[in-house]
């Protein structure tokens, strides 16, 4: 927090300097011109569409954004809807597991890959290729594998293992883990590559020093190397986190929210009510709640990470 305060003061000092207009428009003109597409994207799409979304979430708009202002009605309905509440719980559960396992397994694999092993590039290729496939493809193939009659379970039973059970896709309590298996399959490899790059960015001297001091290898990884990989971790968290919040395609392709509503997620609620249900107000209220959640998690972090600090 102290850090933030210092920067605010600096900002205030800068703003107070003379020839403000000159500074805004003429200084570093080509830099600003080059950044026009980015500024337009930020202002029109990310900010403009967000404001639009929030505004219309307070209306009773149906198929077209023409409704009247109705206050918090859409939100009251949203919080009273069990499908929404289930969706949020699901996303939190999936998100926590996905983040922990993607980072954990990614790091573990990266450490293993970093042990001067043979066939490193073969292993890496195998682990990374699913990243090239879409969630639709991922969902389809795992749906096929998890199909209780024709997939893995059926195969094992046909081969004589009668009690073999792998019906997670049809089991309301396990279906989120079915999603997780498919999601990890797709994303862990990329996390591993990032982590491996991070590991190899660590100075050899650190390792020598740790060995001289007699620190066990695993402790060196956890308490020395990991903190040094901050940049990689940030990139990984941004990638994994944005994927989790947007979780949609995989659910549609793998479970379509079922069985029952046990694998519904917020993005699907938004989409279903905006288009299938023709209720933009309700869909946008749900979208706004997603935004608010992301905002609460992201803004303090983003400020510290990108806004508040010099880059080197």
């Amino acid at each position: 927090m102290a850090d933030t305060a210092v920067h605010t003061r600096e900002g205030a000092e800068q703003a107070a300097r003379p020839s403000l207009l000159n500074r805004i428009f003429l200084h570093n003109l080509s830099g600003k011109i080059a950044a026009i597409p980015m500024m337009a994207t930020v202002l029109i799409v990310f900010i403009g569409c967000t404001v639009w979304t929030i505004y219309f979430s307070f209306t009773n708009s149906r198929l077209l954004p023409t409704g009247k202002f109705v206050g918090f009605d859409q939100y009251e309905r949203l919080f009273a809807t069990s499908r929404w509440n289930v969706s949020v719980t699901n996303l939190v559960t999936y998100g926590v597991f996905s983040l922990v396992f993607t980072l954990g397994i990614g790091f573990l694999l990266a450490v293993l890959m970093d042990q001067k092993i043979r066939f490193e590039s073969a292993f890496r290729t195998i682990m990374l290729y699913p990243f090239a496939l879409s969630f639709i493809v991922t969902g389809l193939v795992w749906q096929w594998i998890m199909n209780p009659t024709l997939g893995l379970q059926g195969t094992m039973r046909n081969l004589g293992w009668e009690s073999f059970t792998f019906d997670w896709i049809a089991n309301p309590r396990m279906v989120l883990f079915a999603l997780l298996i498919a999601g990890l399959w797709q994303g862990v490899g990329f996390c591993m590559v990032l982590m491996l790059a991070g590991l190899r960015g660590v100075d050899e001297e650190i390792w020598k020093a740790a060995r001289v001091d007699g620190i066990p290898t695993w402790r060196t990884y956890v308490s020395v190397v990991l903190p040094m990989m901050r940049g990689v971790l940030v990139t990984a968290v941004v990638l994994i986190g944005s994927g989790i919040v947007r979780l949609y395609d995989l659910v549609v392709a793998l479970t379509n929210g079922g069985p029952g509503i046990s694998s519904e997620v917020p993005a699907k609620y938004v989409y279903n009510y905006m288009f299938g249900g023709g209720n933009i107000g309700q869909g946008l209220a749900a979208a706004t709640m997603m935004l608010v959640t992301v905002l609460i998690i992201m803004v303090p972090w983003a400020y510290l990470e990108f806004g508040g600090r010099g880059r080197r």
């Binding site: 198929l63 079922g258 989409y271 299938g276």
Partner: protein, 413 residues
């Protein structure tokens, strides 16, 4: 496509067709199952033969989440298709109000629609401020109990003739390892309560809930019976036995893997394509074999207003298609394949199969408004969510179900 267009244009030139040259008319729809695709092909054939124009088929799988967003966003985004299928009812009412759909009043002025449309309530859904913005092209009803002859042969019982007999046969079926009720994941369950409502609850209940949106009716004793029937149904359905699409349920019925299913009449199109013969391979019980009226909705065709500068020949092709869709010839061919009922009263349906004959008989008693006809898509979506949740989660009691159903109907507009 290009090559085909050229060939078709040449062909029409030689045949000396009505129009000077062939134009493309894009038609969007979500009829991608086997029976549905065969039915829409009948429309396309009639259209191409009669007008010499090209039917450009844009099928998108999945009604609610797949096709609807694309259809709506294209109309709103100013890139409309020549014609599109949607459900008869209220899905497009705002597009009509926003002036995005073409007024067909003049196009069909000389056809005297009132004289042959089987039920005026169908056309009402298309009217707005004196204009006519869509044409219902068939009547679909959810009110069918489909039963597998093979399954009942296996347990050595006669095929039930109504819902109660069917329920009574469940224990024997389960003992024989046959699914009493086959079900596809997702939306197919959403039609079931409506069917139980008309079959068990009766016509008055359907009118009170769907038309008058009376929450009291939902809380009443008749609806409780419906809810209890849903409750008993969910006890014989388990998620790991559910199949991906309703067409798969059709196959389960034909093989005797499943004994019964409540599903709309379009299932029959798939049963036929798979070689099923009504009366031999499967039996059909309209209104669960108990009611004397069918609830119904159906499909309509809409013709978006095309942007300025569109080739007048395309606009003419829209009009030609509109008139052809409700012509006796196209109606007959299409509906026989689709398994739905034609909207015309003046065509000879002796070629229709026994199931459709039964439906035509009930149709004479008037059509009850089904949920997808009378309720907004928002309300339908809420009810669908509720039904899917209820089916899967035994912690939701019948009382909870009734109360939640009632509150959704209460808020419906």
């Amino acid at each position: 496509m290009k090559k085909f267009a050229v060939v078709a244009a040449m062909a029409t030139a030689f045949l000396g067709s009505t129009s000077a040259y062939a134009v493309d008319l894009e038609v969007t729809h979500w009829w991608t199952s086997a029976g549905e695709a065969a039915a829409i092909a009948e429309f396309a054939k009639v259209f191409e033969e009669e007008t010499g124009n090209n039917w450009v088929d844009s099928a998108l799988a999945g009604s609610g989440t797949g096709a609807n967003p694309v259809i709506i966003s294209r109309i709103i985004g100013g890139d409309p298709m020549g014609a599109t299928q949607m459900n008869t009812g209220r899905d497009a009412e705002e597009l009509i109000q926003a002036g995005l759909m073409r007024d067909l009043t003049d196009v069909v002025a000389d056809m005297d629609l009132d004289s042959f449309y089987v039920d005026q309530s169908l056309l009402e859904a298309c009217r707005y401020e004196g204009g006519l913005y869509c044409l219902p092209i068939n009547i679909h009803s959810w009110d069918w109990l489909w039963l597998s002859t093979a399954a009942y042969e296996e347990i050595g019982q006669p095929v039930p003739t109504n819902w109660d007999e069917y329920v009574a046969s469940w224990p024997a079926l389960e003992e024989a390892g046959i699914l009493p009720f086959g079900l596809a994941t997702g939306w197919p369950i959403s039609g079931v309560p409506g069917v139980l409502m008309s079959g068990i609850g009766g016509s008055d209940l359907v009118l009170a809930v769907n038309r008058d949106k009376s929450a009291d009716a939902v809380r009443g004793p008749e609806f409780r019976e419906v809810a209890e029937a849903m409750d008993s149904l969910r006890k014989v359905i388990s998620p790991d036995m559910m199949v991906p699409s309703f067409g798969d349920v059709g196959n389960q019925l034909l093989t005797g893997e499943a004994a019964g299913n409540i599903h709309g009449d379009w299932l029959q199109g798939d049963l036929q394509v798979a070689g099923g013969v009504p009366g031999e391979d499967y039996e059909c019980l309209p209104a669960l074999g108990m009611g004397d009226q069918l609830t119904g909705g159906g499909d309509s065709f809409y013709f978006p207003v095309l942007p300025e500068g569109t080739d007048p020949a395309v606009i003419q092709a829209q009009a030609d298609l509109a008139r052809l869709l409700i012509s006796p010839e196209a109606q007959l061919k299409f509906n026989l394949v689709k398994g739905s009922m034609p909207i015309r009263t003046d065509i000879d349906l002796s070629a229709a199969n026994p199931c459709m004959q039964k439906a035509l008989g009930l149709l004479e008693n008037g059509l009850l408004p089904s949920g997808d006809f009378a309720l907004s898509s928002d309300t339908q979506q809420q009810l669908q969510d509720l039904n899917i949740e209820f089916l899967d989660d035994d912690n939701i009691t019948v009382d909870d179900y009734i109360e939640r159903y009632a509150s959704i109907i209460e808020q419906a507009d």
